[in-house]
């Protein structure tokens, strides 16, 4: 878990973001080539700083942090549609097609789908917070986290598509 190491942290899923940023700033001062006078080529300061930046960027967001945590544990997220969403997604895609085709009557359907998905996402986020704590304490939540992340990724992609369609038609 080199990203955790780069910031001097134990590999935990629940992190205090203020503490994370403080560590990032402290280590930046110790590492950044601008400050450690590493204009001399090959000193490796730039590489170390790049790694520190990559680490902070990955860990400060709970989704990318969890994805990293899982991949370090050898767990890959599935790319399939979560089965419980299949029917909903089918209907949504029909509505999106209608909107793209210029049929504005699908708008109320999209609006309500948007609301539903946003609520699902919020629910997953709070589930994830609880799962993070359980994993950190008992180490037995990885599979559930993977399933939640998969669902979340799928839903956030749907939300993005819906938003894009709704916005395009508003600005027109």
């Amino acid at each position: 878990m080199q990203y955790y190491e780069a910031l001097g942290l134990e590999p935990k899923l629940a992190l205090d973001l203020d503490d994370l940023r403080k560590r990032f700033y402290e280590r930046s001062r110790e590492t950044h080539p601008d400050l450690v006078g590493a204009n001399a080529a090959g000193s490796g300061a730039e590489d170390r700083m790049a790694q520190l930046n990559d680490a902070f960027r990955t860990l400060r967001n709970f989704v990318t942090r969890a994805e990293y945590f899982l991949s370090e544990r050898g767990i890959q997220l599935s790319k399939d549609v979560p089965p419980e969403l299949l029917e909903e997604v089918f209907e949504l895609n029909m509505a999106l097609e209608e909107m793209r085709g210029g049929d504005d009557s699908a708008r109320p359907q999209l609006d309500s789908a948007r609301e539903r998905f946003a609520a699902m996402q919020a629910e997953i986020d709070s589930d994830l917070a609880a799962l993070f704590s359980r994993q950190d304490a008992q180490g037995n939540a990885l599979d559930e986290i993977a399933a939640s992340l998969n669902r979340r990724r799928y839903i956030s992609n749907l939300l993005r598509d819906v938003d894009k369609e709704l916005n395009v038609h508003i600005s027109n």
Binding site: Y25, S28, R29, H32, P33, D34, L35, G37, N39, E46, D47, M49, A50, Q51, N53, D54, F56, R57
Partner: protein, 612 residues
């Protein structure tokens, strides 16, 4: 003849900070008391005279009226761009392109042909010379600012310009970030700051978190083709239309007249930042065009341009992950932010009165000098953490982009990807790198093609080549590759999609920089010799004074020795050495000089008495 070297030990040459602007450029340096602007504003205009000389700055700006066909301005708009990109610019600017402009534009200045980095290099050279004159020492290293939203090719072109001008570019700093640095250094600010930078040709918005000397850019956005130039064009189009009606004459084909008009609309535009009404006033070939313009009308004309800045601002706020209410302060940068409509639009969007106490023309150069101070180790405890403005990706199957480094990632940022072969015996792997936010390769900007070659032939999918993409602290991509099976570095050919090759830049340096450097050295040596002549003549003259015979034997010997030492180095090419020996004479003749001054004073007093 032997040459002399003096080791000055601790003394190191200064690193300057340069704001290489679309309209104007400036150079600054960090001093103990803070950053200081060296010499004045240098217009970013370059002209090739009939005698074959290339001039830059104020003198070139005058040539814009008298010799428009030999003169270029706003060349920053062309940096790092190809022929296909500049259709719009060519309609608006009197750029004249020569043949072979596909991947690097070739501009015609009279009979001279120059690329945009070469033109910029002449502006840099002018700034370098000004800085050397102001500091009295040669300058070889610089920090240069670029619009935050500049892509890889535009950054590389700026770096090339520095190299051509004989400057080692230690860092490219984003302009709004530089402004924040100058601003925050002064005030020791904490909190979240937005920098709105509307210059002559580019617009940037950056949002930063300032904490205990750390300047962390959270997000940046912008438009590299939006600025005061666009306002000038709107006003010029109106004026040209009216002139056509009034004079029954179309002056748009006359470059000199167009430049006079450009100057007239800029004058009116600038006045309207301070008074509610101004006049566009053009006299040409005995005819006169005058047009009153009120601030109301002006505002209506420029509203679309101001509006174009708001989208990037909103996107930037969202990307920064902050709410508008969390932004503590807004700093305005760039000459165009003097326009009242711009100020009110910024105030409305950010719900905060923007800061204007720093001169928007100077703040970027001052910030560049601060960063130069950081790199030199003179400024401690300050650190800039900037981001890359555009996502970096590679082309995958079906013309799709696979993103490796997302926009607004703190730089340096890296990504590693392992590549393999698709068919048996394949010995090359081609990687196409693009920059941009869209999903299709054709909608992004091609950056370069990397050809990994000499892959050992084997079964498809067996090769393992690890490619590392690093966006460095300048925002420029560096790529290295390793064959994971052998652990050896993988060789590759790089074909940048736009820009000069290393060899081309190298050739351009030989043409301009060496000559300039030689000129400078020669000038310094010449000046030192002139001074040496004067000092030796003065000492020879003093030998006839009474005061000289009054000196002790030892004092006279010391003077002779100092004179001899100066004579020995007089013909060396090292001006510092000549100056050191001149100083030696000054010291050896100190008491002599005092004695002479006293006797002169005495004589003068006696004279007064006689005359009285």
């Amino acid at each position: 003849m032997s040459t002399f070297q003096i080791d000055f030990g601790e003394s190191k040459s200064k690193i300057v900070g340069i704001d290489l602007g679309t309209t104007n450029s400036l150079v600054a340096v960090m001093e103990l008391t803070g950053p200081r602007i060296l010499s004045g504003i240098v217009p970013s205009v370059v002209s090739a005279t009939e005698s074959g000389e290339v001039i830059a700055g104020e003198a070139a700006r005058e040539m814009l009226i008298t010799h428009p066909e030999r003169t270029v301005y706003s060349v920053k708009r062309l940096m790092g761009r190809g022929l296909a990109d500049v259709g719009e610019e060519l309609k608006l600017f009197p750029f004249r392109l020569a043949k072979g402009s596909e991947s690097v534009l070739q501009l015609r200045l009279g009979e001279k042909i120059m690329t945009p980095p070469e033109v910029s290099a002449h502006v840099l050279l002018k700034l370098k010379n000004d800085a050397e004159a102001a500091l009295g020492e040669p300058i070889t290293q610089a920090v240069i600012t670029v619009p935050a939203y500049f892509n890889d090719a535009q950054r590389q072109a700026t770096k090339d310009a520095g190299r051509i001008a004989g400057l080692e570019v230690l860092r490219l700093v984003n302009e709004p970030t530089a402004a924040a640095l100058a601003y925050g250094l002064d005030k020791r600010k904490e909190g979240i700051v937005a920098v709105y930078d509307l210059g002559g040709g580019t617009f940037d918005i950056s949002i930063l978190r300032l904490h205990d000397g750390i300047f962390e850019v959270l997000a940046t956005n912008g438009d590299t083709h939006l600025g005061g130039d666009d306002i000038d064009h709107l006003l010029m189009n109106i004026a040209l239309e009216e002139i056509r009606a009034e004079w029954s004459e179309d002056i748009s084909g006359n470059p000199g007249a167009v430049q006079l008009l450009r100057r007239a609309v800029i004058k009116a535009k600038e006045e309207l930042s301070f008074v509610p009404e101004a006049k566009i006033d053009l006299g040409f070939h005995g005819k006169r065009y005058q047009r009153e313009m009120t601030l109301d009308v002006f505002d209506r004309i420029i509203q679309p341009i101001v509006d174009r800045t708001l989208g990037p601002c909103r996107a930037c706020i969202q990307d920064a992950g902050v709410k508008v209410e969390e932004i503590d302060e807004v700093v305005l940068v760039g000459g165009s932010t003097r326009i009242p409509l711009v100020r009110s639009a910024v105030e409305r969007l950010f719900r905060a009165k923007p800061h204007t106490e720093l001169n928007p023309d100077e703040v970027v150069a001052l910030g560049a000098a601060v960063q130069a101070g950081i790199l030199a180790g003179d400024v401690k405890d300050q650190l800039l953490l900037d981001v890359t403005p555009l996502s970096l990706g590679i082309e995958t199957m079906g013309g799709l982009v696979s993103k490796l480094i997302h926009r607004n990632s703190t730089i340096p940022a890296s990504a590693t990807e392992t590549f393999t072969t698709a068919v048996d015996g394949q010995t090359n792997v081609l990687i196409h790198v693009v920059q941009g936010e869209r999903e299709l390769v054709k909608d992004c900007r091609s950056l370069a093609r990397f050809d990994l070659k000499g892959v050992a032939p084997m079964q498809a999918g067996m090769a393992r080549i690890e490619v590392r993409f690093l966006i460095d602290a300048n925002g420029i991509l560096n790529v290295t590759a390793k064959d994971l099976r052998t652990g050896k570095e993988q060789s590759m050919d790089v074909k940048p999609s736009y820009g000069l090759t290393d060899e081309q830049v190298e050739a351009m340096i030989l043409e301009s920089f060496e000559k300039a450097q030689q000129d400078l050295t020669e000038r310094q040596v010449r000046e030192a010799r002139v001074e040496a002549d004067a000092v030796m003549a003065a000492v020879d003259k003093a030998r006839h004074e009474e005061a000289y015979s009054a000196l002790s034997e030892a004092e006279r010997a010391a003077i002779d020795r100092a004179m001899n030492e100066l004579l020995v180095v007089y013909h060396s090419d090292d001006h510092t050495l000549i100056r050191a020996k001149i100083d030696g004479i000054d010291q050896a003749t100190q008491s002599l000089a005092e004695a002479i001054i006293n006797s002169v004073a005495e004589k003068a007093l006696k004279g007064t008495k006689v005359d009285a």
